[in-house]
């Protein structure tokens, strides 16, 4: 998840029940891309590093 492409943006706006004009979409897609870069940092977090228990997430079929 390094940026927001048109397909993902359309899916998210459908999920959120929001309409955007093309210029709004372009601006917001850029902002979301930037915010995702902050969030991606969490991938580096090792939850077992101090003896914590990793929670196993059951795989759910799509």
């Amino acid at each position: 998840m390094s940026g927001i492409d048109k397909h993902t943006f359309a899916r998210l706006s459908e999920l959120s029940k929001l309409n955007f004009t093309e210029s709004e979409e372009e601006k917001l897609a850029g902002e979301l891309g930037a915010l995702i870069s902050i969030i991606e940092k969490i991938k580096k977090f090792d939850e077992t590093a101090d003896g914590g228990v990793r929670r196993i997430i059951p795989k759910v079929a799509d």
Binding site: K17, E31, I38, I39
Partner: protein, 477 residues
């Protein structure tokens, strides 16, 4: 008698000794609110009729000798807290015409005390923001420097208290929303322990983090308000007010004093810590490594929860009615016109967080568990943690703030929401432009009494609150 300079306890004494009537006191604050609000925009509604009716009831209670801590005390309520029969807009076009049919639990408790409601205060839309500029009802001006923001999202509550339009105000805090505006406006704001104060009747943003708390001129006043909201049977947060701080240990986490913090702020907070040290407090530097994941964890959890919380606003049952024939078309129109840019951004981000099978959310919960462990570790050897409330002072209205920097600044405040710990912001100095600097004091779970004790000591020691702010007085003339 200059009533606006009195603490809540002093006001209580003045009312009970009949030095002033509840009606007279309410009118004093009401007049200030009516005169200053066109300049400050701190209130979305000034509730004159309600305030005067409340004052009349309060006077009867006082006359009967049955007064309680907040009987006859004029207060303001953030406009995302439901008030029976009084519009509650959440600062959003979506709820512009929404009038609840019930009071929030905290409002019920204040009514039982016999308070007087001066008005409902402006806020960032649905409590999402740090400047109060995202409100559909316009930006709020900071009474200390009217060209600047009061912070957010409880910016209206902070501005109302700082300009003495009310004796105290209620706000909500999901990531910074009581403490950061308190810091920008030079007042004191307390985020209580998560779950300590009822959230019933508060418009939800993020159910894991939302809390209600007071903004007031003094830590002592915050204690009085929280005690009233606890209903008298769940301990006292004021028990240690006025006691010395000698023998306590206070920790300074090095991650919260990094170079990202403005130098003047870092110096002011460290000077306040040194003032504690001079009075017998032991200072100890600590490290809380997982603080570096606070911003990511906060964004993931709060935005994902906001998607759920705001899903009820579709114009069908609640909110702005959308136009269009088909239901889906109406809902999209309602939400597109009803929500502002900041809310839409967070809903879209929340959508991303919910679309990955829960991997990010689970990681964020793991960060939360680790942070709780790390903070508990610190509290094994320290009674409280001090840090800057925010890495900069109040910025100018309309000033272009880098999006990344804006969101990243959550690290200084959101740790208390993620861990659920109580945290109070108290004024500890001013920068070269005379803008207030806030210091955060974080305590153990349910230990509001300790952090208010330290905050109260610092207020008495440093005495930085100039009452009332000179800028607000100029506006009044």
């Amino acid at each position: 008698m200059d009533v606006i300079k009195l603490t809540l306890k002093q006001l209580r004494a003045a009312l009970d000794k009949r030095l002033i009537g509840a009606g007279e006191l309410t009118r004093e604050y009401l007049n200030r609110a009516k005169t200053l609000n066109p300049e400050l925009n701190a209130f979305i509604s000034v509730t004159e009729e309600e305030a005067l009716a409340n004052a009349e009831t309060a006077q009867k209670i006082i006359n009967s000798g049955e007064s309680r801590a907040l009987t006859g005390i004029p207060a303001a309520i953030k406009d995302n807290i439901c008030t029976d029969g009084i519009k509650t807009t959440c600062g959003s076009k979506m709820l512009e015409n929404f009038t609840p049919s019930r009071d929030a639990e905290v409002v019920k408790l204040l009514k039982e005390q016999g308070y007087a409601l001066i008005g409902k205060t402006n806020l960032d839309e649905f409590a999402m923001g740090k400047s109060n500029e995202t409100s559909a009802f316009g930006a709020v001006r900071n009474p200390i420097a009217p060209e600047r923001v009061p912070g957010g999202s409880s910016g209206g509550s902070a501005a109302a208290v700082a300009s003495s339009c009310c004796a105290f105000a209620l706000g909500t805090d999901t990531g910074a929303s009581i403490r950061q505006p308190a810091s920008f406006c030079g007042i004191t704001g307390l985020k209580p322990t998560y779950g300590r104060i009822s959230r019933t009747g508060i418009t939800e943003f993020s159910k894991s983090f939302d809390v209600v708390g007071p903004l007031a001129k003094r830590a002592e006043d915050c204690g009085v308000v929280v005690d009233a909201l606890l209903g008298g049977s769940r301990g006292s947060c004021s028990a240690k007010i006025g006691k010395g701080v000698s023998g306590l240990t206070v920790a300074t986490p090095k991650e919260l004093f990094s170079d990202d913090v403005n130098g003047e702020i870092r110096e002011a907070v460290l000077n306040a810590a040194k003032a504690l040290e001079k009075n017998g407090v032991k200072l100890t530097e600590v490290s809380i490594p997982s603080l570096s994941y606070v911003v990511a964890a906060f964004l993931i959890i709060s935005c994902a929860e906001a998607v759920s919380a705001l899903s009820r606003f579709d114009g069908e049952e609640y909110g702005l009615r959308g136009s269009g024939g088909a239901r889906d078309e109406r809902i999209r129109d309602s939400r597109t016109r009803g929500f502002g840019d900041e809310v839409k951004r967070r809903l879209m981000l929340g959508g991303i967080m919910l679309s990955d099978g829960g991997v990010y959310f689970q990681k964020a919960l793991a960060v939360k568990r680790r942070l709780i462990r790390e903070f508990n570790g610190v509290f094994e050897k320290a009674d409280a943690i001090v840090s800057p409330t925010f890495p900069r002072t109040a910025f100018k209205i309309g000033e272009k703030i880098d999006l990344m920097k804006n969101y990243s600044s959550s690290m200084y405040t959101a740790f208390a929401n993620i861990t659920g710990l109580p945290c109070v912001s108290v004024p500890c100095g001013k920068d070269k432009d005379g803008l207030p600097i806030g210091m955060s004091i974080t305590g153990r779970e349910f230990d509001e009494a300790r952090i208010l004790q330290i905050a109260d000591f610092l207020e008495r020691e440093t005495g930085v609150w100039d009452c009332p702010p000179s800028a607000a007085e100029t506006l009044l003339k």
